[in-house]
Symmetry: C2
Subunit: 162 residues, 2 copies
């Protein structure tokens, strides 16, 4: 796998291993179990996934074949996101589909792996696979990395709480 | 676009334009409007999509962003299928996602185009795009073409009725 582009944004590393993928890495100051919990407990997800905006968790069935659906109350209006779980292996690996209501039927496969770095630190590696290079590029040009870093900073804050 | 493999099964033409696609073609003895109706009216879909098995249409929202979900009562047990509409252009073009409960999160993009051949005949061309060549090959090896031809023969019978 070659890394054709890499950028770092406030601790977030973004790479494009192939023309249909985006790979991001981010380190959190919390154990793998706590990061896993923040990713799978609806009460916790609601506190960081929406980048500080109100987030309604309509569905979060964390099991193979389960569905999820979140609605973000953004300043620009309601934004719906949904998908389905392909693999759930606590506390290390989640594979799920991702679809934004604004582009229905354009489906991304998100593979999230949590690496235990020791000393209470965890590296979150996410790989997004798109059906076409055009969909991948559209995501890169949508301000995705800024939004993702906003979410991850909210996750930092949540993980510092307890 | 090159056709790397073509086979014909009882009037069904199957080709693999790329390593992530399957393209099928089939001619029906009915107008484009009637084929469109058979593809989008739940009462009609229930009569052919399940290959002769009982088919429960749990949801069929034929509009951009709408969801669909069918449950086939096959001899081997219940088989669920679902997806979402990306494009709906009556009576000629449907783009929708397709997922089988047995492989949740493995999503196919199905583009169906109806060509009016005149003389009350319609050619249905379907292109399925997979995320990976492996998923495409898995579908080809699953007996998909036999099942599709069974469905299309049931559709022939439905279209002859009125």
């Amino acid at each position: 796998m070659s890394i054709s582009a890499t950028q770092s944004l406030q601790g977030l590393t973004v790479a494009t291993p192939t023309d249909r993928e985006i790979r991001t890495e981010r380190v959190f100051n919390a154990s793998r179990e706590r990061v896993w919990q923040a990713m799978t407990d609806p009460k916790l997800v609601a506190q960081w996934w929406g980048r500080g905006n109100k987030l309604v968790i309509e569905k979060l069935e964390v099991q193979r074949g389960g569905h999820w659906r979140f609605v973000e109350h953004a300043p620009s209006g309601l934004q719906g996101f949904e998908g389905r779980f392909r693999e759930v292996t606590p506390p290390e690996r989640l594979v799920q589909t991702f679809e934004w209501d604004g582009m229905p039927g354009h489906v991304i496969i998100n593979t999230t792996v949590l690496h235990d770095l020791g000393d209470g630190r965890t590296k979150l590696v996410n790989t997004s696979l798109f059906h076409t290079p055009e969909e991948r590029d559209g995501m890169l040009n949508s301000g995705m990395t800024t939004g993702l870093e906003q979410s991850y900073r909210a996750l930092d804050a949540l993980l510092m709480k307890s």
